[in-house]
Each structure stands twice: as C-alpha cells, then as structure tokens.
C-alpha cells in the first residue's frame, strides 16, 4: 500500500464493526504493524464510528460511512467521512477521571480514548460531511 490509499465503506450499523475488525487485521499484517498498534487504531476508529452510528443521524434512513487509510512514511493516516449531524469530537467534554465512582459519567469516554491513542487529529465540516483525519505512528512488530 506504500503511497496508495485503501477505502472501506460501512453501513450505519454496529454489526459492521466485525467487518472493520477483519479489514484492520489484514491491513495491519500487510504493513507489519504490531498487535498493539492494530488494537489502538481499531479502538480509535470504533469510538468514532459508534458515536456516528448511535448519535449522528436524525432519520431512520441507511447511511454510509467512508474510511480511507494510507501510510505516509510509517505514519498511518485515517480519514473518516460521514453525513451525520455536525459533530467535532475534539470539542467533546472531557470526562472527569478523578471523580468518585458514583459520580462518574460515562459520556465522552470514547472521545477521550480516541484522543489519548492518536498522535494527531483534525476535524473539518465540509458541506454536509464531517471529515475527521487521525494520524498514528506505526509501531513495527
């Protein structure tokens, strides 16, 4: 894939996560990525996807989410495009990780995980689309 890009399209359904996992396993192996890097990329993408699928749409129609991945000098670039309501995960409220168990609110946890695992994240609203680009340095096996 050196220099090339690969794209996947997913329906707006949580059952598509299996397909995502399979695609990323294959990609990770072909790029010689460590199990840990594959896991972290998979996790960051799932957190974004599940937010879009669960909260991004105001109708019951089927939507498609496009993921494009390319390797740029051992930095993996991941672009996620969806036509859901405008949502910038970088502005999501950071959960209070210090508060007691009883007070602990879980919302925002997924965005926090994604931000912690990725090296760089850029959000843009282009037309009717959310475009999120994440970068992660590839750790070799």
């Amino acid at each position: 894939m050196n220099g090339g890009k690969i794209s996947f399209e997913f329906r707006s359904s949580l059952s598509e996560l299996d397909k995502l996992h399979r695609n990323l396993e294959e990609l990770g192996k072909s790029l010689g990525m460590s199990k840990k890097t594959i896991f972290q990329i998979n996790l960051a993408i799932e957190e974004v996807l599940s937010n879009i699928i669960l909260y991004g749409y105001t109708d019951k129609a089927e939507h498609w989410i496009k993921i494009t991945i390319w390797d740029q000098n051992r930095t993996l670039n991941i672009r996620i495009e969806d036509d859901g309501i405008p949502f910038n995960p970088l502005e999501a409220e950071v959960p209070d990780l210090e508060c007691s168990l009883e007070e602990r609110q879980i919302g925002g946890l997924g965005c926090h995980i994604m931000k912690s695992l990725m090296d760089d994240i850029v959000y843009k609203r282009l037309g009717n689309k959310n475009v999120l680009t994440m970068k992660k340095t590839i750790q070799d096996t």
Partner: protein, 110 residues
Amino acid sequence: MEIIEKRQNDISIFKVNGRLDSNTSPRFEEKILEAIKNGSNKMIIDFEALDYISSAGLRVINKTTKQLKHIEGMLILCSMQDYIKEVFVITGFDSFLPIVSTCDEALMKF
C-alpha cells in the same frame, strides 16, 4: 465473543473470549445482570482470552461495579494483556477497580 461462566464456592467467574465492542457488549451485560439477579455479589472477570475492549465494554464494567457496590459485593478483574490494561489506565478505571495478574490471586482477595 464467548463467555464461559464458572462458580467457585460463592464466587462467579466469567472468562471472556474475543472482543468486547459496541456490538458484543450488550450480550456481556445481559449475562452479568442475570448472575446478579440470581444472587451473585462476588465476581471475577478473567480477561486472559480477551483480545479487544472499547468504551462499550468499559461501560458494562463500570455499571457492574456500581451494582455490586449496592449489594455489598465486589468485582475483580484479572489476567489482562498489557495493551488492554493501558485502556484502563487512560480512562482512570484502574483507580477504582482491583486489577490483578492471575485468577488465583483474584480468588484470594475475597
């Protein structure tokens, strides 16, 4: 994902195989809630064969911990791979959850 449930004395042990993601976590939650309903208040979740966890899985763990606290019970997690443990650290879950290296060690905590 596959869940193997075992009982040792009055302790419920759940061994989770595979992935705990947004798609599979609801089934995991059902299993645990059922055990609580049937009277379990001491639980161990063994993550030795767990390959993956996302915030959906953490949400179930958090809910379980809260429920068990109300009935004077306890949840202990054991045998996590390092990269899974890191997610518990990033989210601060390691600050309120006992996480130990082996299932035997977890059994001794009760």
